[in-house]
């Protein structure tokens, strides 16, 4: 298919060259229908799986080293193996995609719901369970409609529900929708939410979902994209799968590149084969920085990730490369910021997100993120004090003690501190708020100092709208 074709009916998706494992149907306008799915090999992977022993399906997934695509990058096959022999057990699909910059699960759900449903059935079958909840972010009604229609059609066609494809296998998939809370993307919060509660994370241990998840029963939470890989994997096998991507990270990833690039979009990219430089400047990808400006910084893996800079452009796009370099690939969200970007303002915006989205459970996160936001806003409003810069770092140290992960900066002799950060909190949301602060202050301290020195002069231009919730 065409290189770099903008696909109008799949806004955001860029149909570039290379293998298509999860986005192969996107170019079809009717890719979400059962007809198109069936006409293009849909449900064949599931049918193949149903002819295998469940344990063999699980073994195949393990062998393929299918890394989770939700952020943490943990191998799905290994996670599945953590389930104790206890029933009932559940599969919960994490379609709550809300990480700033992340934008691929929505396309997978809107553009190819049958692929996801098929992936769910394969996973349920391998795990020996018959109830799957598909948790879709509340603010994605189109995804919900597409999945609802797909499920209704698949139930009617005997592909989901009782006696799937005429076999003895019976599995229900229930579409569930959220109502707006980023933290619910965290798997234990997702489970709380699915139980009808406030989406506040549970502490791990003891609540590792694989052992004590939904209703305190063994539960696997997998990301949409993770499961969307399964049909292809079943049909083509793990050896074929491992031909793509790198040894440690086989297969592809859906990457969303936004911000200051010429051709922002969601690209399906082989893992570990491409560098950030290729992605930002390559003709097969984004084609350069907007207006050919200089790059100032970029976020390699969603709002939660520490920032990278020019020096990290040649890092390869895979978790095992990005982590040691001081950040994370996370959910495949890359935000590019050019030289025109105000580092303090960008920092505030990301921090504000975490302050608004803290669930409120842990003192350091609830109070700390709000305080961080207030201090940053004050600096931007022109009322900063010189001691505020260190204060920001110290509030951050209350949430994430020790040295925060950071990218190397040869000029200032700063060495990379590998991901992940330490935390005084239950989940990583609070510590995530420290990422933009340490990233920005360590690299652009002078910008903070200038803002503070200039005082209220900058008030007008940098006012942020609105009130925090």
């Amino acid at each position: 298919m065409a290189t770099n074709a903008y696909v109008p009916h799949a806004a955001g998706y860029v149909d570039n060259e290379g293998v298509k494992i999860v986005s192969s149907r996107f170019p079809y306008e009717d890719s979400y229908t059962l007809e198109r799915s069936l006409a293009t090999g849909g449900y064949e992977g599931m049918k193949k799986a149903l002819r295998m022993a469940p344990a063999d399906v699980a073994a195949l997934v393990k062998d393929a080293v299918l890394l989770g695509r939700g952020g943490a990058g943990f191998p799905a096959g290994v996670k599945w193996g953590f389930m104790p022999p206890v029933w009932p057990r559940y599969l919960v699909v994490n379609g709550d995609e809300s990480e700033p910059g992340t934008y691929k699960d929505r396309l997978l759900m809107e553009r190819d719901p049958h692929q996801l449903i098929e992936g769910c059935i394969i996973a349920c079958y391998a795990l020996g369970l018959n109830t799957c909840f598909l948790y879709v972010r509340g603010e994605m009604p189109v995804a919900q409609e597409r999945i609802a229609q797909a499920l209704n059609d698949a139930y009617d066609a005997g592909l989901v529900g009782k006696n799937i494809d005429g076999t003895d296998v019976s599995i229900d998939i229930v579409l569930h929708w959220g109502a707006g809370a980023y933290i619910v993307g965290e798997e234990t919060a997702l489970i709380e939410s699915l139980e009808g509660n406030r989406g506040m994370p549970r502490l791990k241990p003891p609540f590792f979902p694989a052992a004590k998840g939904l209703y305190l029963k063994p539960t696997i939470v997998n990301n949409v994209e993770t499961l969307a890989n399964l049909p292809w994997l079943m049909i083509n096998g793990s050896e074929e799968y491992k031909k793509y991507g790198s040894e440690r990270s086989p297969g592809t990833r859906m990457l969303a590149i936004s911000g200051h690039v010429k051709r922002p979009g969601v690209y399906e990219v082989e893992q570990g084969k491409v560098s950030f430089r290729d992605l930002f400047y390559g003709e097969n990808y984004c084609g350069g920085i907007t207006d050919d400006n200089d790059l100032k910084m970029f976020i390699p893996g969603g709002g939660s990730a520490p920032w990278f800079f020019e020096e990290q452009l040649d890092v390869l796009l895979e978790a095992s490369e990005v982590g040691p370099a001081g950040s994370m690939l996370g959910s495949g969200a890359i935000v590019v910021m050019d030289e025109t970007t105000d580092a303090v303002r960008a920092c505030l915006r990301v921090v504000r997100f975490f302050a608004r989205e803290s669930c409120g459970k842990c003192t350091p996160c609830r109070e700390g993120t709000t305080w961080e936001e207030k201090v940053l806003q004050r600096i931007l409003d022109g009322h900063g004090r010189p001691e505020d810069i260190d204060l920001l770092l110290e509030i951050g140290a209350n949430i994430s003690p020790g040295v925060y992960p950071v990218a190397a900066h040869p000029d200032s002799g700063l060495e990379a501190v590998p991901f992940p950060p330490k935390q005084t909190t239950i989940c990583p949301l609070g510590p995530s708020s420290v990422a933009p602060i340490t990233s920005a202050i360590r690299r652009f301290r002078s910008e903070f100092e200038a803002k503070i020195a200039n005082g209220s002069a900058s008030e007008e231009t940098h006012e942020l709208s609105g009130t925090s919730a």
Binding site: P88, S98, L151, K162, R198
Partner: protein, 204 residues
Amino acid sequence: MSRLNEENVALAHEIISRYPRKKSALIPLLHVAQEQEGHVTNEAMEHLAELVGVTPAEVLGTASFYEMFKFEPQGKYMVNICTNISCQLVGGEELLHHAEKTLGVRPGGTTEDGMFTLEDVECMAACTEAPCLQVNYRHEYRLDNSDFDKLIADLRAGNRPEIPDHGTLGAVRQHIPADRMAGIESPETAGTPAWFASRTAQSN
């Protein structure tokens, strides 16, 4: 009287039947309540409490955690403008300012004619199409000020019939015909699926 109407009570029962425990249905049911009235009323929360067997305080505890549930009347169209980082970089905040001026309200406010409620929101998973917004959670991409003005004019003129009133989520709902359902059981009584036991035994 803003308890669930008869039709929605039937729908509520159908939704509840898809969960191993009733309380799990709470968020979907709150959406049903919000769809009926445009916002979630106290009476509706009391009704939901009865339907799922919890106290109204527990319903409110859950409902108030989530951004999408509103407890006061809203405009017919909720205009949510993203100002998160990807949008901020390419003009999301400026778009919000423009919207504030055009609609004459601050984020959280509703225009006097009850048509629009403006919100300043977090990332809506359309970052590559920034700046973007949602009207009743339907995306609009890459808007400049004049696109925004046209959108508002179209909405006022009723030229966007595909966008339902605030509160309506997916226009298509899942329905599982009783004879197609594998069966949802309570976690206390559910066990190993028969097919798994037999297939595992066979392969050994």
